[in-house]
């Protein structure tokens, strides 16, 4: 028996109002790696995550996690939303947000118990936001908030993580803390998917890349995928290569 894939996408197509967003995506992702999902604006990166998590109905296609359908995998999957999707005025504290990560483990009629709070404290410490636990979520900086949402995903003790643009609009220090934690998670055997916008550091951050532009352009080890030809195909000319370096600049 070979390794069971962490994520299997077969023949996935999604469209919004009869406009194609994703077309015939076929990919199998092995576990225990950090996977970057990259591609230009409107390439369907977030759509891919949403379809995989069952948030929108695909036209066709099958998705499985470790060989199991989504229905049986909810507990195993943690999700970190895009910053812009969060209502900063919501009357909720950092601690309450992180506690939400425990919800899949708490019976539907039960409240969180002492053990759940201990787990919350542990991961608040891990991301370095323990002293903020009683703050309202909107009082935090972007970087702090992103770390809090990562802590929430961590308390879920999932096997697969999805992060939607976790590094956009946050400070360098937070970015470093987050990537360090993600690498640690990977070393613990988790599989992490990160929608990523910025092409710099891509090779440094990710083990594998999933290059997307409505179709799957390429998937494989970062070092193999991250080449000019594939990127040009994905970004369709909106890409400038600075000669002599492996520097790539997206011009749109």
């Amino acid at each position: 028996m070979g390794i069971v894939n962490a994520l299997d996408i077969k023949n996935l197509s999604v469209s919004y109002n009869s406009k194609t967003a994703l077309e015939n995506i076929d990919v199998a992702v092995e576990p225990e790696q950090l996977v970057g999902i990259i591609g230009p604006n409107g390439a369907g990166k977030s759509t891919l995550i949403k379809a995989v998590l069952g948030l929108l109905k695909p036209e066709q296609g099958q998705i499985s996690f470790f060989g199991q359908p989504l229905k049986k995998s909810h507990k195993k999957i943690a999700y970190v939303p895009q910053q812009s999707d969060i209502d900063l005025d919501f009357p909720i504290t950092v601690e309450e947000v992180v506690l939400m990560g425990r919800y899949p483990h708490i019976k539907w009629w039960r409240r969180a118990d002492k053990k759940d709070y201990e787990i919350v404290t542990r991961f608040l410490k891990e991301v370095g936001t323990e002293e903020l636990r009683n703050k309202q979520i909107g009082e935090l900086s972007g970087g702090q908030r992103q770390r809090v949402f990562l802590a929430r995903a961590l308390t879920q003790e999932a096997d697969i993580f999805f992060l939607d643009e976790p590094f956009s609009g946050i400070d360098m220090a937070s970015e470093e803390i987050i990537i360090k934690l993600l690498k640690k998670l990977r070393d613990q055997g988790k599989t992490i998917f990160v929608v990523h916008h910025d092409l710099s550091k891509v090779e440094e951050y990710f083990d594998s890349l999933l290059l997307l532009n409505k179709q799957l352009i390429s998937y494989g080890k970062s070092t193999e995928v991250f080449n000019v030809k594939a990127l040009q195909e994905a970004y369709q000319g909106n890409l400038t290569v600075i000669p002599g370096h492996s520097q790539l600049v997206v011009t749109c």
Partner: protein
């Protein structure tokens, strides 16, 4: 002062006034609590829609002689489903779909009432409430339905909070999004029926949204917001019944006006977010920095 004494004496001696007061207090609590979730989910318009859509159900229930609650829940839910169906299957957006559906249901209710000439369904009372006609059995009904609504919210508090705050995560961990939405619509329909006597179909949305919004301006904690909201609902009801008795004006409207006044106060003077408080704070900060500059 003498007016208050007069009111208290009246309260002691008249059963109908006691009933009105009790009904007002209960409705204040129930609407205050469920209203917080309506606000946080951005569903104020939906709350308005469902409360109006209850009308034909109530009238049909009256004509055919079964419980108001069944009629109300049926037309409330049908309207909610209709709104969802229109948005999902056409290019019509949410707000327009809400507008189309609830006015249709409301108009149907009006037509049904006006077709029933000579009966004692009073259009005015359903629309604007008739709190002084609350009977003992109405009160028990209110208490029963209120407890049911609060119990559901208490039981599914986690689910309501998560799906309000982060609907994407809620769905990702497998919470039934639609079931939660329609449960809320069901609760809204029930709450509207309970509020029929007190504030009526048209103004019930104020009891749902105004106390909750007031509380929202005053706190950053949901648990506190729920408590404050219920509290403001109760205060509005008590003062509203009082003013309506003393000045002999419509009770429902007077309750709503009190709630609006409390909102106004919070809007201006909320310690953290009040419009005037912020201005004063800015002035103090400016003064401080000016004096520092001079020094």
């Amino acid at each position: 002062m003498s007016e208050i004494n007069y009111f208290i004496d009246a309260l002691k001696s008249y059963q109908y006034l006691q009933n009105a007061m009790m009904a007002g207090v209960l409705v204040g609590i129930i609407c205050g609590v469920i209203g917080c979730f309506i606000i946080l989910r951005g569903m104020a318009l939906m709350g308005d829609a469902i409360s109006h859509a209850v009308l034909p159900g109530v009238v049909i229930a009256y004509i055919l002689g079964f419980s108001f609650f069944i009629g109300a829940v049926v037309t409330g839910i049908i309207t909610a489903l209709g709104i969802g169906y229109i948005t999902q299957n056409s290019r019509i957006k949410d707000d327009a779909a809400i507008g189309i559906m609830f006015t249709a249901a409301f108009a149907l209710g009006i037509v049904l009432i006006t077709a029933q000439r000579g009966t004692d369904v009073h259009l005015w009372h359903i629309l604007f409430g008739n709190v002084l006609a609350v009977s003992k059995s109405d009160l028990w009904m209110t208490l029963g339905v209120g407890s049911f609504v609060l119990m559901i919210i208490f039981l599914f508090y986690k689910q309501f909070v998560l799906s309000s705050f982060d609907p994407i995560m809620a769905q990702a961990i497998g919470l039934p999004k639609k079931l939660i939405h329609y449960t809320l619509m069901l609760l809204l329909s029930l709450v509207t029926v309970v509020s029929l006597n007190t504030v009526g179909v048209i103004l019930v949305v104020a009891m749902l949204i105004t106390p909750g919004s007031t509380a929202y301006l005053l706190t950053d904690r949901l648990s506190v917001m729920l408590g404050l909201s219920a509290g403001f609902g109760v205060i509005s009801s008590i003062l509203g019944v009082y003013f309506s008795f003393i000045y002999d004006v419509a009770t429902g409207a007077s309750i709503v006006l009190v709630a609006s006044c409390i909102f106004c106060l919070a809007f201006m003077f909320s310690p953290k977010r009040g419009v005037i408080t912020q201005k004063i704070r800015k002035k103090i900060v400016n003064k401080k920095s000016n004096t520092q500059l001079i020094e």
